[in-house]
Symmetry: C2
């Protein structure tokens, strides 16, 4: 038997699907031992939730048996390896698990880490396209003129013929490109390395390596960042890179806040070098009250949750985990395995 | 020689392209005799603009020579046939020319009427997608919470797996479908007649005939109207049809205002039966100050100009006219010919 411990909240329907994958699975799940969801499909739970000492004992007993973990267990990241000594594979519920896997000390072990990369791509891409379209179609002006009951015809904008620079062409970047191209946009992709046979060519008209980021930025009317948070991507969009952006461009970040020098971005937004921005991620989260971003007219702020779409993500999560369970039992390679060097 | 009179404003660059189509063309254009553009790519001009009596004489002399007219001449719709007796073909700058062709008395004549159908489809489809996305991704809530500097995570929405009903599958409807499908939407199309071999099947998962409109509406999370204004489409979306819409749906009109019973729409928006609407067209335009639409929170109002996108439409217009000029001289069928019975 393979013991699978489900260590964050999932609805009954999903637990049952997991149990029915194979008779050789021993699936352990105790709803009372994991944080209750703050909303449908939440896997984190309220900040002030704690297990009672009795619950904690029982939770630790479960973890001690786990060969497979479905999600990083709240409250037991740094001591994960010692309390789950039998662990061979952990499937996270988040798209980017490099950081948490590092904290759990898994990068130097043989424990396989898989992520939920792809599950959130659609909802994140929608946020990017929403932001780009409301900018192009001047929704802000329409709103103001409506408030004044003002019928004023004039010029509108379009995404057609415009250039979109997608920084990062993983699942999220590809989801953005696939949705943007039917609007008649030219897509320029930026990725770590570019080969002639790169699959990413199916998603972009041009590809640049990260070393040539500034050249790619200079051609773009819209910039969408989809990069994970790694030492390599940290502050990749610094003041220098932001100064390379074509003046008048629009900026979207649906990757990680640490990729951008936020103070430099604020400066570029204030000066009008960058005309507007839509941000789902920030250097510090929750975004501090004193952040100047709150007051900038040309900024859309989303509290790192535009990908929380229960109607689709729960099903996609479980599809992915069940598929990986079958692969695991069959000794096949898993989907979405974390690269422990690249951290995504 | 074929005398072509250009009777609304076009920039030099476009006039020159038209002149260079063929040596057998005698192109007449006097910038001072047509209304000046209110903005780039405008063909209507200021409401209070008038020709002087001398200008009027010269304009009439030009029209008297016209075998081909590029655009309906401001101030001379109802008397068009008498002042342009040599007229054989008129190319309008608008996508829907049924109404104006009727006023000009062209429907019972042999004069060919062609429209600019297709030129505005992209910008109109963008407005529809923008509206749908800002609804799904709860932009209104993000804006309110930003104003309060409130970081509140929670559930967002998605277009994925949702059903979009596109009423009218001409150029505009198809442009909407092409952009919506990569978001994972199921597209249900409504058109006058449906055949097995219908090209529209390339754009929709299901097709309904207009007679079955209510069934199509009942399945839709989003409804986008793209219909032209004709006697047949007048108030097609009446109180009865609006009551057939799935409760909680979102509504977009980028066709003609006369297609909707606006009072019934207001009622549906007030009751919450329809959750929100984005309107580029209205029963009466400009939308009267006393319209209740102005005050409805869940409504986006665009003053019938979201398709005014000079950077693309001017070029597309001239591409189309030059192509049609070549066809005309070669005796070939023209593109975008108005069906004088269907009026589109």
């Amino acid at each position: 038997m393979t013991t699978v411990v489900i260590s964050s909240y999932f609805e009954d329907e999903h637990i049952q699907r997991i149990q029915s994958v194979d008779e050789r699975l021993n699936v352990l799940y105790r709803e009372d031992l994991v944080p209750p969801p703050r909303w449908e499909a939440d896997h984190i739970g309220p900040a002030d939730w704690r297990r009672t000492p009795e619950q904690e004992d029982e939770f630790l007993k479960m973890l001690a048996e786990a060969e497979v973990l479905y999600d990083f267990p709240r409250g037991h990241i740094r001591d994960l390896l010692s309390i789950a000594p039998k662990l061979r594979w952990i499937q996270g519920s988040m798209a980017g698990a490099g950081e948490v896997a590092g904290k759990a000390g898994l990068l130097e072990t043989g424990v396989t880490v898989t992520t939920a990369s792809g599950v959130y791509s659609g909802p994140l891409a929608e946020f990017a396209l929403m932001a780009m379209l409301q900018h192009a179609k001047r929704l802000g002006r329409l709103r103001e003129e409506k408030a004044a009951k003002l019928w004023r015809q004039g010029i509108s904008g379009t995404l057609e013929t415009k250039t979109l620079c997608v920084v990062g062409l993983g699942n999220i970047g590809r989801a953005v490109a696939v949705r943007a191209r039917p609007f008649g946009m030219r897509v320029v992709g930026v990725k770590r390395t570019v080969r002639d046979t790169d699959e990413a060519w199916n998603y972009a008209d041009e590809l640049y390596e990260t070393a040539d980021l500034n050249a790619a930025l200079g051609a773009a009317d819209y910039v969408v960042l989809t990069l994970p948070g790694t030492p390599e991507t940290r502050r990749l969009l610094d003041a220098n890179a932001l100064a390379s952006v074509k003046p008048g461009a629009y900026f979207v970040n649906i990757g990680r806040g640490a990729v951008v020098d936020e103070a430099a971005l604020v400066e570029a937004l204030r000066s009008g070098w960058i005309l507007g921005a839509a941000l789902d991620v920030f250097e510090e989260e929750p975004l501090p009250k004193e952040s100047p971003l709150w007051a900038l007219e040309n900024v859309i702020i989303s509290p790192h949750s535009t990908d929380v779409v229960p109607e689709t993500i729960n099903t996609l999560q479980t599809d992915l985990f069940c598929d990986n369970l079958r692969r695991y039992l069959a000794g096949e390679p898993l989907v979405n395995e974390l690269d422990k060097k690249l951290l995504y």
